[in-house]
Symmetry: C2
DNA sequence: CCGCATCCACGAAGATACTG
DNA sequence: CAGTATCTTCGTGGATGCGG
């Protein structure tokens, strides 16, 4: 068993399972940031998900890592450096979320989106 | 404004918006039952979503109705009869959820599913 | 039969201080 | 920089009783 969220009998269907894994207030935003900026560091990720607290970001990253969505690489340096990215499963999840995102844009947000175009990798690090 | 969940500035992207509308513990199960049994009555719907309480089912139905996902028809009879079904938007939402359901089945549930047919009968007839 | 109102329990999320 | 620990707050969901 990978985690508490992934165990037999918890879900009745795939949608239920997916929502159980990415549900909550922040996970999809983390996922999106991870997709936009592969190898993003903790502090930068925090800035990319405005409003999230350190504790919540850390715990959600742990959960996503447990669930095989997120890959974590810690470098043994001073100052410490940790990079996060999507696993293959995580990338597939993001792809599976695309139709849902399109639905949300069209039916909830009236076709508007606050981040129409990714700024590009050069905006990731300063 | 349709509801508190649908207002400008609440979401940063379509996925976020969609999860905001269908998030929580029960909404996707309600959605699925509504898809399987169009025109289902309250009591029957309650049986189709095992474990849900009356209060939660009622409030979630109201939210889904506010958000334009669910259509509610009350017949002025004794005893009272109320039927629920998906709106067109709700049906589209269910369709948009299909890839997510497939992802969940394959990556979380190990390909198993507790109910034979995923939402979307016309998905199989293409 | 349908559904709301009230009160209560629990987990998730926020703020802050602290460690390696 | 990258987190952990703790306390508090808040929202969601659960149980029960009442009204149309």
């Amino acid at each position: 068993m990978a985690s508490e969220r992934i165990r037999p009998g918890r879900y009745v269907c795939g949608i239920d399972a997916a929502v159980g894994v990415i549900g909550g207030k922040w996970k999809v935003l983390i996922l999106w940031a991870l997709h936009e900026y592969p190898g993003i560091r903790f502090g930068e990720l925090r800035r990319q998900v405005p409003g999230i607290t350190v504790k919540v970001l850390a715990s959600h990253l742990h959960e996503l890592e447990e669930d095989g969505i997120v890959h974590r690489v810690a470098y043994d340096e001073v100052p410490p450096r940790v990079e996060y990215s999507l696993t293959e499963t995580g990338a597939l999840l993001n792809k599976a979320l695309e139709p849902l995102g399109a639905w949300g844009r069209e039916n909830i947000m009236g076709g508007v989106d606050r981040h129409p175009e990714p700024p590009g990798p050069d905006a990731a690090e300063g």
